[in-house]
Amino acid sequence: MTESLRPILAILVSTVAIPVILSLKRRPNVREGVTLTVAFAKFAIIASMVPGVLSGTQYEFALGQFATGIELAFSVDPLGLLFGLLASLLWIVTSFYSIGYMRGLDEHAQTRYFASFAASLASAVGVAFASNLLTLFVCYELLTVSTYPLVTHDETDEARAAGRKYLAYTFGGGVAVLGGTVLVFVLAGTTAFTPGGLEGLATADPTLARAAFALLAAGFGVKAALMPMHSWLPDAMVAPTPVSGLLHAVAVVKSGVFGIARVVLDVYGPVTMEQLGVALPLAAIAAFTLLTASIIALRQDNLKRRLAYSTISQLSYIVLGLALLKEDALTGGLLHIPAHAFMKLTLFFCAGAIHVETHTDDISDMAGIGKRMPLTMAAFAVAAAGMAGIPLVAGFVSKWYLVIGALSLDGGLIFAAALLVSGVLNIAYFWPIVYQAYFESPEGHDEKPLLEGPLGGRDEVRADGGDGHESGNTDDDSDEGEVPNTEHVDHLGKHREDHEHHGGPPAGGWDDRGWRGGESTWFMLGPILTAATLSLLLGTVPYTAVFLRIVDTIVSNLPGVMA
C-alpha cells in the first residue's frame, strides 16, 4: 500500500482534457494534438506503475468517505493494472486511427466525438482502478453516460434506436449492480475489494449472498454481453468503427467482464463462490453464450455484426475462465482480456479501413479485396487466426490455459469441448473472409457461395448482399428483426447519398494497390499493423509483453485458488 497521486492522475489527465478539447472546436489539428498528448501521458502514467505493481506495491489514492458506504477510493492492484494498461495503450492506437477514420469520412461533430472519447477513457480507467465495488459502480455508470454520445453519433433513427437500447440495457444492468452493491454492503459491511473475497460474505445469509451475486453478475453481464442480455451490442455497431473497436471490443464490454472478475476474485472469492454454488451456473451461461454466439456469427453478412457476435462469444471465454475457478482457467480467462482486445481491435480497424476506402460493409462484397487492401487483409488474417486459437497469435496462449483449466476440473470436459467447438466455429466464420479476399475475384465469387461446405453448413446464405432477412429468418436471432437493413445502416448512407450500391467492388473490379501502403492513409494502416503486431507479440513472447506476468501475479496472489 503506497499513497500515490498516480491512480487519480491517470484518471484526471483525460478528464481535464475534455473541456480543452471542447474549446478547440475550430482548431481540429490542435484538438487532435491534445488528444494524442493526453493519450500518451495517460499511458506513461499507468506504465510507470507496472514495475511497482509487479513487485508487490499497491498504489492508493482515496478521495474520501462521502457517506455511509460511499467511499471513493482508487488503487492500482495487478488486476486493475491489467485493464488500465490495456485501455490506455489501445487508446493511443485508436486515437491515431480515429483521426484517419473521422477525417477520411469527413464526419460531423468530431469535437463531441473526441471529448466523449476522452471521457470514456477516464471512466474506463476509473473502473480499472476502483478499489471498492461502489467506486467501480460510479465509474461504470459514468462510462455508460460518456459512451452514449458515441453510440448515437450518427444521429440517424437507427443510431438513436441503438442508443436507446444501449442506455436501457446498460442502465438496467447498472440498477442490478447497484442493488447487488447495496446487498453486499449490508451483508459484509464494506465493499472494498479484498483478494480472496470479503469475510462478511462467507458468513452471511447464503440466500441473500446468492441474490447479491446474481444481481452483480447479471448487472455486469449486460456489458459483458452474456446471453440473453447481449442484443444491445450488435445494434451498437452502428457507431463509427473506432468506437466499435475500442469501446465495444475493449473498454465497455471489458468493463463488464472486469466487473465480473472483481466480483469473482475480490468480492466473493473462489472459496465463497464454491460454497454458495454460484460458479457453475455462471460457467454454464458463459458456455452457452460462447457457442450460440459463434453460431449466430456464422450467419452475419455485415462484417461488423459478425465481429460483434464474435465479441459476444469471445467475452464468454473470459467469463468461463473466471467461473471455473481453476488456476489455469483463471490465467487463461484473464489473459484473454488483452489477447482478445488486440485481436478484435485489429479486426475492427480492418473493417473500418475497408469501409473508409471502399464503402464496403458486407462480407459478400469483399471477394478479391485482398488485391485492393493487401496489408489490411493480412492483418485481418493474423487476428482471425488468433481468434481461432492458432499458435503464434495471442489467442492461442489464452485458450491453451483455458482448455487446460477446464480439463483439470471434474466434469470440466464439457466446458473444454465447448471451447474447442467454438474454436472450430471461429475458423468457420473467419476463414471464408480471408480466403475470398485473396483467392477469389468479384466476378467469380457468386459461383461459390460464401459459406458453402461442411464448416458453415448453410447454403441458403447467398452472397449477393441481400441475404439474411429474406432467406434466413427461420432461425435468426430474435433481435435481428428490430433493426431492419442493418447491413446498410452503418452511418455511411447519411453522408454519401450518391453511394447507391452500398459498397462492393467498383465496376472494373478492385484496383491493385500493392503492398506498400497505397491502400489507405498511414493514420489507419499504422494502428492496424500496430494492433496486429501486439497480438503477435502476446502470442509469441507473452511474458516479455508484460501482460502474462501481470496475470500470473494476480492469480498467485489469490488465496483459495485450486491448482
Binding site: V138, R160, R164, A168, G174, V175, V186
Partner: protein, 497 residues
Amino acid sequence: MIEQLPVLLVVLPIIGGAIPLAASLVSDRAGWPVATLTLIGQAVLAGLLAWTVSTSGTVSYAVGGFAAPYGIELVVDGLSGAVALLVAVVSLGVLAYARQAGPHSGPFYGLYLLLVAGLTGMTVTGDVFNLYVFLEITGLAAYGLVASGRDASAAVAALKYLIIGTVGASLYLLGIGYLLAATGTLNMADLATKLGEMAAYDSTLVLTAFGLMVGGLTVKVALFPLHTWQPDAYANAPDTVSAFISALVSTVSAYALARLLFSVFTVEFLTAVPVARWALVGLACVSIIAGSALAVSQDSVQRMLAYSSVSQFGLVVAGFAIATPLAVVGATVHLLGHAVMKGGLFAATGVIERETGATTVNGYAGMGSRVPLPAFSFAVLSLAMVGVPPAVGFVGKWYIVLGAVNAENWPVVAVLLASTLLTLAYFARLVERLYFAEATIHSEPDEVPVTDGSGQAVSFGMIAVVVIAAALAVALTAAVPELQAMLEDTLPPLLNQ
C-alpha cells in the same frame, strides 16, 4: 444574537414582504432590489443558523418568552436547519433569474418574500398549529404567484391549486383537532410524549389524526393520486414561479411530513402501528410508478417535469416512512438535491423557451447546438435526477435503498431500484432529442407565439442560475457527510435508536 436567529429568519422576509407594496407607490421597480437585499440577509442568517446547529446542536426558541407547551416554540435541528438554508439559497438564486424573466411588479416581489416567510416558518416551527398558519401563508402566496403570469390558463391552474390545496390544509387542520382532542396540546415535543402516555398509539383518535394530517400534507406534497393540481400549476405559472415553487413548495411540505412523522408521531408510533407505515410506503411506491408513467406520456416538457416531481417525492416519502436512520438521511439528501435539480430544470426550460420557443419534447430536438450551455446543464441535471453517480441524486437513492435493505423490505427495494430506470425512461428521450435529432424548430423566437409575455431576452443571470444548479447537483455530494453528521447529532431519538 445567535439565539434569536430562528425568529429573525421568519420575520425578516415578512418585513421585506411588507415593503414592496408601500414602495410601489413611489417607484414601480422597487420590488426587485428590496427582495434581493432581504434575501441576501436571509441567506446569511440561514447560513449562520445552519452553522450554529452543526456546531452546537439543536436551537430552540420560545417566542414571547413563554415556555412550551404554553407558548409557541421554534425548533431548529439539523433537518430544519438544512431546509431553511435551502429555502434561503434557492429563493435568492431564483431571484437572480427573475430580474430579467419577470414578472416585475411590486406586489409580485411582496408575495415572493411572503412565500419565503411562509416556507421558513413551516421549517422552523415546533408547533402543529403554527405550522398550519405558515402552510396557509405558503399556500396563499403560491396561489397568487402561479396566477401572476399573463396567461389566462394560469388563473385556472391557480384556482384548481387553491381549491385542492385548501382541502388538503383543512384536512390537516381537522387532524390537529383530533390530536388536540386526544392530548390537549399543540407543541410537537409535548405531543410526542403525550401521545404515548395519554392516548394509545392505536386509538381511534390518534389514527384518525395521523390519517388526516398525513393525507392533508400529501396533497401539498402532490403524491399520486392527490397530485392533480400540480402539473397545471407548474406548467402554467411564469418560469420564475415554476422554478421557485417546484423547487421549494412541495419540498417544504415533504419536510413538514417528515417533521410530523418524527417529532410528533415518532418512530415508535410507526413501529407500534405497522399499518400506518405500510400505507405510507405503499402510497409512496404507487406515486413513484404512476408519476413516472404519467411523465413518460407527456408531450410538454414542463408537464413532464411536474409529473417527475410526483415520482421523486414518492422516493422521498418512502425514505421517511421506512424511517431507519440511513433511509432518513437518504430522504433528506434527496429532498434537498431534488429541490436544486428540479428548480434548475425548470429554469432551464424557461431559458430554452425564451431562446428558441421550444416547449415540447419534440420541439427540443437539436437544441443542443442552438443553446449549448442551457442544454448541457439540462442534460447534466437530467442525469443527476436519474441517479447517475456521483451526482447528488445518486447519493440520496443509495441511502434510501440501503435503509430499505436494512429493513428487509424487498418489494420496496425493487421499486426504488426500478425508479432509476423509470426516471431514465422520460429523461433519456429528452436528452437524446436535445443532442441527436434534427431540429424541428428553425424559426427565430420572435416568430413563435409569445406565451409568457414578459420579454424574451435571456440575461446572464438566468443562464448563471441554470449552470450553477447543474454544478450544485454534482457538488452537493461533497456536503453529504456534513449533513449526515448534522442529522445524526440533532435527531437523536430517531437516528441513534
